[in-house]
Amino acid sequence: MPRNGALALTFNALVVVFMLAPLVIVCLVAFTPENTLSLPGWSWSLRWFEKVFHHPDFMTSFVNSLWLASTSATLSVALAVPSAMAITRGEFRGRGALEALFLSPLVIPHLVLGVALLQLFSHIGATGSFFWLMLAHVLIITPYAMRLLISAMTGYDRTVEHAALSLGASRWTMFVRVTLPMILPGVTGGWLLCFINSFDELTMSIFITAPSTITLPVRMYMYATESIDPMMAAVSALIVALTATTALILDRIYGLDRVLVGQR
């Protein structure tokens, strides 16, 4: 195995420190007993976490976000499974164009999408609707599910499905008993990535959330424009914990590098 040079090692170390240091500091600040954003010294306190859990707006938004992220991730995966199947297996005109279309939300700025959807929603009277907010999230997170499912299905040996058919399985039974279990890593991986991306989305959501549907990132943004106190750090620490846990699960069942880099 080639050894890394000192320069490369230093560079990598710096990148990692640069990426992680803010997170570590935020998480540490969350435990401060003070009223200002300061690192805890020898005394640690959970008072800011307590404050989060007793803050009705934050709790409502947290539940909103959880609910929004899980429903939109589920819908995205439900859409992405048949689409990815058609794209990886079908032989029809415009297959490449279709794949590009499904992945295109990745390159549209969320800011632009937010403004556009705000106009659309007020036009059709959908402002404040959780359902339409969910659809907007589905729009921007589906590419992640697509990407993972396409790589899970590329190189999939279809004779296994032929075997199931030859043994008398109906097409539906074949899908449930054979196809789905074989692409399950892609399905779960896609769902978790969608969940994280929806849970984290701020830029677009600012425009299209109404008071009853405010998500956690939007709530944090609103709170931060008014006052900065360690409660923000506590919320951030909670989000970091949630995301890290999801990433850990993802890594356990599928291998994070495979999920994010893809197999194509």
Binding site: T159, H162, A163, A164, L165, S166, L167, A169, S170, T173
Partner: protein, 326 residues
Amino acid sequence: MPFLELDNLTKQYGHLYAVENVSLTVEQGEFISLLGPSGCGKTTTLQMIAGFVEATAGAIRLQGRDITHAPANSRGLGIVFQSYALFPHMTVAGNVSFGLEMQKVSKAERARRVDHALTLVHLDAYADRYPRELSGGQRQRVALARALVIQPPLLLLDEPLSNLDAKLREAMQFELRNIQQQVGTTTIMVTHDQAEAFSVSDRVVVMQSGKVMQIDTPYQVYEHPATDFISRFVGKTNMIPSAPGHPQRHIRPEKLRLVAAGSGRVNATVAERFFLGSQWFYHLTSDLGELTVTIPNDGSAPQAPGTVVGVQWDEANMRTLAEGRA
């Protein structure tokens, strides 16, 4: 009424014929091999019987029933795929049990039949393993058990032994034949390996460019090939020039004998000599052109390169073939 009948079966892709007017009748319990080089249409023929490829024209009749356009999952055939196509997320027992579950066989009956099928292929001790924990030969036997457990009227084998190493392949050939004879299932195997086709089949169907060239017993195919192409495809052969206007004559290398110079039908010089273990393989140059001769390694001293020898044969072993059909 034949057990299985292919009646002018044809598959066309655009203007290209993958399979053209293939007709074949198979009797119950027969072991038939479809033999030919890659691209000869043998696999497409098998896939049409299996129901994975839709026939363009012609008919497939199984036990008198027309199944030409029946969906694959209604045909009830046992299929062993080249890649084995085992379900990776199911155990060996789970794989074998799948077809019985589809037939809604009761749990107790399923367990009994799975056990019986695994015993047949000597894998009863591996029921709880996953396919990834098995060797190539074991996977192949799981695939065979999975195909046979549903007691199909017809067993289809798609290059079943091609992923195994030489030694295992030979052992599996005999095992395959044994199992087939025990169970008595009518079998169609696709292969490009003539030795494999010869050793296990009752009859061989030689295919070339989508067409059937010859249907015969292995011995007849080897000894009396219908065309020049078949003669070369199923073994080595020597072309003996004949008088102008007469058909080409062929003789197999093992039908030639080396004798003392001057006492054979022709004299030849040993150009090269290869040792193959059980036999010697000679390249000779003679007035009849280049000759190849195989001599059993019976312990006698081989001829050295450069030696002039006589070549002898029985005229009865000489074959005359229709020309230009290669």
